[in-house]
């Protein structure tokens, strides 16, 4: 009820670490997870006299992101110092871009149940990441390994209207960044982070309400929950006649609530200063064209192609491309089976269920999964057997077709054989027969299960069902 009173106006700021081997202003490694302070140098630790050198690869990846998101790329942009004191920021300023970002005016098409909308992207700029603070007892330690890891900040226009839409935007953005090799988007490692700006206004209003900012959300689920909570909180305040105060809030995942961090009135004055240690960033038309030609097929185009080429549903195709590795896996197997839809099912509902954490470290190769789908599709095995074979593949490689032959796992499709088993089942479970005839159609499942057990799980389920329907039909007693 209350949600209908106001329209939510949501904008997202996404920070993504770029997939460069070295940092943005020095040659230290960007690899995640090293011992603290083993991947830093005078430059990224802000030693006196040390000077930054811009990593051109970071600029190229940022431009790639800009092109994938339909942005204009600035021929010349500049870096600026964003100044504030914090122990994880060695120079006491972050080298970022203020008024002249590398990319601007892009968009992203976002689909939810409500439909498909185009969300404007205001800007993408490059900047350096800060370090990490490690708290131990009464002491706080600084780890500078992450200082100077290149980031892009992707800022959307306040075009999003619901938690679902925000989440869909993020998922889409993630799949683009992954597909283009821009970021590994590992939220648990902090290589993708999200800030949310949100305000409410009466439906139909063109002006913006007072917004709050929720900082540093590191999962899509948290983004959705935080937005939903914030909509409810602001709605309640507005209904009670209170205006929310402009402030920065943090999301407590355990409580599912947001809490104030600091009010905007006391917000930091970053005193932006054009970075005098770095010349302007020039990007030529040729650079842009060269980068444009190296862009891979983007998720939307790929989903369309997969759906058309393999007869997949739009939903399945979009799930595949949301994780480019999934789509790659599918495409690697799709040529080796006549039943790509079965391959998608095996991949999305079976393989992913067994190794949700990292499907691609599983020992099951795309061709093995394709073989399974082929065996299923051509009717050699039923789905129960296929699932069992998949479990065995997860334990170690084997040739599915050979195994089926050697162990006699092929589906029982012999009508006479199934008929015999079905009659036996009916004899052993007269109660089920009676129930079914009295209108409890669910009783059929017990009979089918019995035959499956008798056949070692190999009965062709479709054939079996038709046999039962025939046997249990009101006239069957007479006919036989």
């Amino acid at each position: 009820m209350s949600n209908q009173a106001f329209e939510a106006v949501i904008g997202l700021e996404v920070h993504a670490e770029l997939l460069t081997a070295t940092k943005i202003f020095c040659s230290c490694s960007t690899a995640f997870g090293a011992e603290p302070n083993t991947q830093c140098c005078p430059i990224c630790m802000g030693y006196p006299g040390a000077m930054p050198r811009l990593n051109r690869r970071a600029v190229e990846l940022a431009i790639r992101a800009g092109l994938a998101l339909g942005c204009e790329i600035a021929e010349v942009s500049q870096t600026d110092r964003k100044q504030y004191f914090y122990p994880d920021l060695p120079k006491a300023y972050q080298i970022s871009q203020d008024e002249s970002p590398l990319c601007k005016n892009g968009f992203l098409t976002v689909s939810t149940k409500e439909g498909t909308r185009r969300v404007a992207i205001s800007r993408i700029h490059i900047e350096e990441d800060a370090g990490k603070l490690i708290h131990r007892g009464a002491h706080t330690f600084v780890d500078c390994n992450r200082c100077g890891v290149p980031l892009i900040e992707i800022v959307s226009a306040p075009d999003l209207r619901s938690p679902e839409e925000a989440s869909a935007y993020l998922r889409k953005l993630r799949s683009i960044l992954l597909t283009c090799g821009i970021s590994d988007c590992r939220m648990q490692e902090g290589s993708l982070r999200c800030d949310v700006n949100i305000s409410l206004r009466p439906f139909g209003s063109e002006t913006f309400g007072v917004r709050t900012e929720i900082k540093n959300l590191n999962s899509f689920a948290f983004v959705e929950k935080a937005i939903a909570y914030e909509i409810a909180r602001q709605t309640e305040a507005l209904l009670q006649g209170n205006v929310p105060i402009p402030e920065t809030r943090r999301f407590d995942a355990a409580a599912g609530k947001t809490y104030p961090m600091r009010a905007k009135e006391t917000s930091v004055d970053y005193r932006f200063l054009p970075e005098p240690d770095l010349p302007p960033i020039w990007v030529s038309e040729e650079d842009i064209e060269r980068l444009r030609t190296t862009l891979p097929e983007l998720p939307d185009a790929r989903a369309l192609r997969l759906a058309q080429a393999y007869g997949l549903t739009v939903y399945d195709a979009s799930v595949l491309v949301s994780e480019p590795q999934l789509a790659d896996f599918f495409e690697a197997g799709a040529g080796k089976t006549d039943y790509p839809k079965l391959l998608v099912n095996l991949l999305l509902s079976e393989l992913l269920r067994h190794c949700a954490s990292d499907p691609f470290s599983s020992p099951v190769s795309a061709s093995r999964l394709a073989e399974l789908s082929q065996l299923m599709g051509e009717g050699t095995v039923n789905s129960a057997t296929a699932k069992k074979l998949l479990l065995r593949l997860l334990d170690g490689d084997l040739d599915p077709r050979l195994t089926v032959k050697r162990e006699g796992l092929a589906q029982v499709r012999d009508r006479e054989q199934l008929l015999t088993l079905a009659e036996r089942a009916m004899e052993e479970q007269p109660r089920a027969v009676t129930d079914y005839r009295n209108g409890k159609s669910a009783a059929l499942r017990a009979l089918q299960g019995k035959v499956m057990a008798l056949s070692g799980g190999r009965a062709d389920p479709i054939l079996l069902e038709s046999i039962f329907l025939e046997l249990l039909s009101p006239h069957s007693d007479e006919t036989r």
């Binding site: 005078p42 630790m45 802000g46 030693y47 006196p48 006299g49 040390a50 000077m51 930054p52 050198r53 811009l54 110092r81 100044q83 004191f85 122990p87 060695p90 120079k91 006491a92 300023y93 600084v142 004055d269 005193r271 932006f272 200063l273 005098p276 240690d277 770095l278 010349p279």
Partner: protein, 476 residues
């Protein structure tokens, strides 16, 4: 021939190669000289006796085996204490960095070592290069070798005094708004600020990054020329580095065209003796066939204000890293993060440094930025444009280096008055132009006088050639 410690690089080269004396003997002579005079001069903050003697021995061995590294092989020098020297304390004359030993060498230090030069030690300066008198060091005043009642100038006061007092053959300094040229003028030596970016700043602790230049303090224009040749060029570590490119008007075969700035040549902006020195320099250049013209530049007071705003804004930013977290001093007295910052900076930074941090922070704050910082940037563009036009017509500008000769220690009255010392130097700084201060006579009080030449970007060769003409005339 002059005494050993008074000679130029060129003269030492000949003597060392001819075996008249060894680098070890020369180095020892300087170390002795430092011991004798430096307690009075206050030029050195650190003397690396062992390192210098070791480097000298190695040099002698190379010379003996015919493996000399060239013009600077075995020649002792010293460097301002805002250049990082691996393993040797680099303090910026601040208590903040009293215990700071850099883990790396500045590019110029590396280049000089590779060229065989012998590093004697680190030189005094106004704290973090903020000041124009050499009095704002946390570790003592540098005094003028001509008369110890007077200042050496600043901020490269130690560098200028060390060369003038024969404590080193040459010195490396930094020039942001005259910090090499003005003390060179006060101490009667040559001070060259090259084109912005021509010598790598890597490892030079920044004051105002868009203005900072590595500067050379030498006994002669010739020495400055050969040092520049050795030190210039991009090193891949200073992104603002610029490779040599001939710009401006090519030197005409017939006549040198020299511009003077009336606002700095007469009136009460500049002392009478300095004005007279400039007049004499005009006469000398005319005698050598130069054509003199007058130019209008934006008011020097405005240029100075522009410089003050921009340099303070950048300085405040550059100084922010001295927070007591990673290196340098940390206050013992703290309770929570903010007090670590506040107490550390409060205790270990000097007054002038704090003043500029406050000033720069104020200029860049949201409510003041457009009014101060942005208009200063605009004025800087205007000055650059105007100077560019000037160098389409003229080969160089002749002006005073500083509005006065050296003043008495303790004579500075106010921070504003203090900044007036940069009045003549800031045009070149704001526009990134090469400029040189050439000693030109002596005042009635017996203090050195000097004039300044400023040229188009990368026109150092031309600048140094004319400097030699003035130098020769002044010594005649």
């Amino acid at each position: 021939m002059r005494p050993m410690i008074e000679r130029t690089v060129r003269e030492h080269r000949r003597a060392l190669d001819a075996g008249e004396y060894s680098s070890l003997e020369l180095t020892r002579a300087f170390l002795t000289r430092i011991e004798e005079v430096d307690p009075m001069v206050g030029a050195f903050l650190t003397v690396d006796t062992e390192g210098a003697l070791r480097a000298a021995r190695e040099s002698d061995a190379r010379i003996a085996s015919g493996a000399s590294r060239g013009i600077l092989e075995g020649i002792p020098y010293a460097i301002k204490d805002n250049f990082c020297t691996k393993g040797i304390r680099t303090s910026c004359a601040s208590r903040m960095l009293e215990n700071f030993v850099p883990p790396y060498d500045a590019t110029v230090v590396e280049k000089l070592r590779d060229a065989g030069a012998v590093l004697l030690g680190k030189l005094n300066l106004d704290e973090f290069a903020m000041g124009s008198s050499g009095e704002h060091s946390a570790f003592g005043v540098t005094r003028n070798p001509y008369d110890s009642r007077y200042v050496a100038g600043g901020s490269s006061g130690g560098a200028a005094a060390a060369v003038a007092a024969n404590e080193a053959v040459f010195a490396i300094g930094s020039d942001t708004g005259g910090s090499v040229r003005q003390p060179a003028a006060f101490c009667g030596i040559v001070g060259l600020k090259p084109t912005y970016g021509r010598i790598s700043r890597y490892g030079m602790i920044a004051l105002a990054s868009s203005l900072d230049c590595v500067g050379l303090l030498t006994r002669s224009a010739e020495d400055a020329a050969l040092l520049l040749e050795l030190l210039e060029g991009e090193d891949g570590r200073d992104a603002t580095g610029r490779t040599f490119q001939e710009m401006g008007k090519p030197m005409s075969d017939s006549r040198l065209r020299v511009a003077v700035i009336p606002a700095l040549a007469k009136g009460d902006a500049v002392s009478l003796e300095i004005t007279a020195a400039v007049e004499r320099a005009i006469a000398v250049l005319q005698r050598h066939g130069a054509e003199i013209g007058e130019i209008e530049l934006p008011d020097p007071e405005q240029a100075l204000a522009t410089y003050c705003v921009l340099s303070a804004a950048e300085a405040a930013s550059n100084m922010a890293r001295f927070d007591g977290v990673r290196y340098g001093k940390r206050s013992e007295d703290f309770d929570g993060l903010i007090s670590v910052y506040a107490n550390t900076r409060g205790e270990f930074l000097g007054e002038e440094v704090k003043r500029r941090i406050l000033f720069g922070t104020y200029m860049l704050s949201k409510r003041n930025r457009a009014r101060y910082y942005d208009s200063a940037l605009e004025m800087r563009e205007t000055i650059r444009e105007r100077l560019k036009e000037t160098f389409a017509q003229y080969d160089m500008i002749l002006s005073p280096t500083a509005p006065t000769e050296a003043f008495l220690v303790g004579a500075e009255e106010s921070p504003a008055q203090r900044r007036r010392a940069d009045l003549c130097a800031v045009y070149a700084s704001l526009a990134g132009l090469p400029a040189i201060s050439v000693p030109f006579g002596t005042s009635r009080a017996g203090l050195p006088l000097a004039v300044q030449l400023t040229a188009a970007p990368f026109a150092e060769t031309k600048l140094l050639r004319v400097a030699r003409v003035l130098e020769k005339d002044a010594s005649d």
